[in-house]
Amino acid sequence: MNIHEYQGKILFKEAGVKVQDGIHCKTVIDALSAYDSLGSKIVAVKSQIHAGGRGKGNLYDPENGDLIMEGGVKIAFSRDEVETYASNIIGRKLITKQTGPEGKIVNNLYIESGCSIAHEYYLALLIDREAKSVLIMASKEGGVDIEEVAENTPEAIHKIWAHPIDGLDIKDAENMADQLGLVDSSKDDLVSMLSSLSRMFVEKDCAMIEINPLVRSESGEMIALDAKVSFDDNASYRHPWMDEMRDHAEEEEVEIRAHEHGLSYVKLEGNIGCLVNGAGLAMASMDVIKLYGGEPANFLDIGGGATRESITTAFGIILEDDNVEGILVNIFGGIIQCDMVARSVIEASNELGLEVPLVVRFSGTNHVEGKAVLDNCDLDVHTASTLSEGAEKIVKLTRGEQ
């Protein structure tokens, strides 16, 4: 689960990480009163969306697609500029490198006191799956495109690990400060920030904390000017506050609805809907559709505990997508029984008035019974015995070749 920068900074403050004063707003009027109460002549006006690259992104009119403003993060030097920037941001569509071409509507704004910057750094904490630990990465080359830095000069990215059992070793933190060229109070600031953040990472079950840029101010303070924080959804049961921080507007409605029915669904751009049990097999089904010249319309894993009800929901979700011109059902029955799936598929097709071709491939538990159920029904359903046969059939059918 992702949260907004302004929420991340509330957590930073609680954890003892230095941030600038700032106020979360939802309207232009709010933004102006935030400016008045912050009492800083220069402020940053920052779009709040669940994606990075906001500064270099552009804002568009969501109705006609016209470019409204370049840059989703602006420095305002006056009250008037705050008004201009805020009205250019609220309700507009922000497209950045990380949002994908569809962009995201900006519903939240953060007005933050300006800061005199001496240098920009990069800092991140995340799970290192190979080392099986929490990795802390930092670089002197913050602010700019850090991915290029990592690719071209990997030695400029410094790494230490803070294992959740042992915590951060202060010597490692001090070494990291040295590598970043920090001295005196700036060094002390970074060491304390690293220990606060690694504690927060574990206490809050974070999946990632990224600060880009982390800045050294003219007075030598280390300040988090950005906050990208995401959490491990599997741990949400022990953090009831996560629900309050969740911004449903940032999540795909249909993906949430799927999740509520135990389904895992991701919409894609193609025309062949897929309904599969298991994430790996679902990905493989998409791959094979593509191999036979088709384009998958979605990823959909019905999970091991699928029921008639959840399969009907899954069919409904697939058919809501107007691009879908055919459906491939691929089930390898383990716990799930193919004949139950067959009856559910027939029921859902009748209920929803299925008008596109349907190919079903069954294997595993009760596949013979499942095929018999399909063979004896009134529905125009094609069956296949292997995944490639099923993929080939559905691709041909959507092209009207069979």
Partner: protein, 306 residues
């Protein structure tokens, strides 16, 4: 032989009185797995009826090991208790000379798994498979040893070792070996979670050392760099042929927050990258899982095994 479990392995079920534990315990027993008991704290002394026999419930894994001398424990407890169950089993096996823990549970918090894996790794004689996996199975002449949730009937005893990150795709790989009249020595689902116990290299090394296994099918998924590392390791250490498939060629890059994930992966993790690593390591690649059988036949023929 086979790897890690064999037809006589004695299996404990942690969470045996729960819905999942009872259901899968029944299926394991039907497959002739030697289930010797279960563990549910507070329910020690009860008896669970399985199709072929009744088995005792213990309050703790160490009590269960003392009474049964089990060498495998399979975990079906809910996600919030699963890491503690792994640690309990690891400590108990360490006291008892070692053993295998198979954790089926999905949805365990990552930090819990980091702690649990650290404990398991401290004990050289304790191995963890999973979590979030179908388990491990060694088919025998009549049934076999099934430790997990896979459908037993699709398997047959043979000479192909299978290792996979994915659940149902493992079954697909099994069906592919069967379609070319090959059975399996052992099939291991290692699970796709970011932090888990046994990895690809552990499995490959075990298959290389196992006389029954003559070729291996390895199924990967996008994400992480375990496939790339396994491929490089295999090119130096494996004499037996390997057939590989990676799921996720068409998965979109995905919306993301920040750069950190991309920096740490350093370009690794895509299906293209993994397929390329397989090819560079001399692994026989199947681009379509329905082709695994045919590619396996070619690999066996090239090795003079068919």
């Amino acid at each position: 032989m086979s790897i890690w479990i064999h037809e006589e392995s004695k299996v404990l079920i942690q969470g045996i009185t729960g819905k999942q534990g009872t259901f899968h315990g029944t299926m394991m027993d039907e497959y002739q797995t030697n289930v010797v008991g279960g563990v549910t704290p507070g329910k020690g002394g009860q008896i669970v009826e399985l199709p072929n026999k009744n088995v005792p419930v213990f309050n703790s894994v160490s009590e269960g090991l003392e009474e049964t001398n089990a060498d495998v424990s399979v975990i079906y407890v809910p996600a919030k208790f699963a890491a503690a169950a792994i640690i309990e089993a690891a400590d108990a096996f360490e006291q008892n000379g070692g053993g295998l823990i198979v954790c089926i549970t999905e949805g365990i918090p990552i930090l819990d798994m980091i702690r649990a894996v650290a404990r398991v790794d401290a004990y050289p004689n304790v191995r963890l498979i999973g979590p979030n996996c179908p388990g491990i199975i060694t088919p025998g002449e009549n049934g076999g040893c099934k430790v997990g949730i896979m459908p037993g009937f699709i398997h047959a005893k043979g000479r192909i070792g299978i290792v996979s990150k994915s659940g149902t795709l493992t079954y697909e790989a099994v069906a592919q070996t069967m379609s070319v009249d090959e059975g399996q020595s052992t099939c291991v689902g290692i699970g796709g979670d970011p932090v888990n116990g046994t990895g690809f290299i552990d499995c490959l090394a075990a298959f290389e050392a196992d006389p029954q296994t003559e070729a291996i099918v390895m199924i990967g998924e996008i994400g992480g760099s375990a496939e790339e590392e396994a491929a490089e390791w295999a090119s130096k250490n494996m004499s037996k042929p390997i057939v590989g498939f990676v799921a996720g060629s068409t998965a979109p890059p995905g919306k993301r927050m920040g750069h950190a994930g991309a920096i740490i992966s350093g370009g690794k993790g895509t299906a293209q990258e993994k397929f390329a690593a397989f090819e560079a390591a001399g692994i026989y690649v199947a681009r379509d899982p329905s082709e695994i059988g045919n590619v396996l036949v070619k690999a066996l023929k090239d090795a003079g095994l068919r």
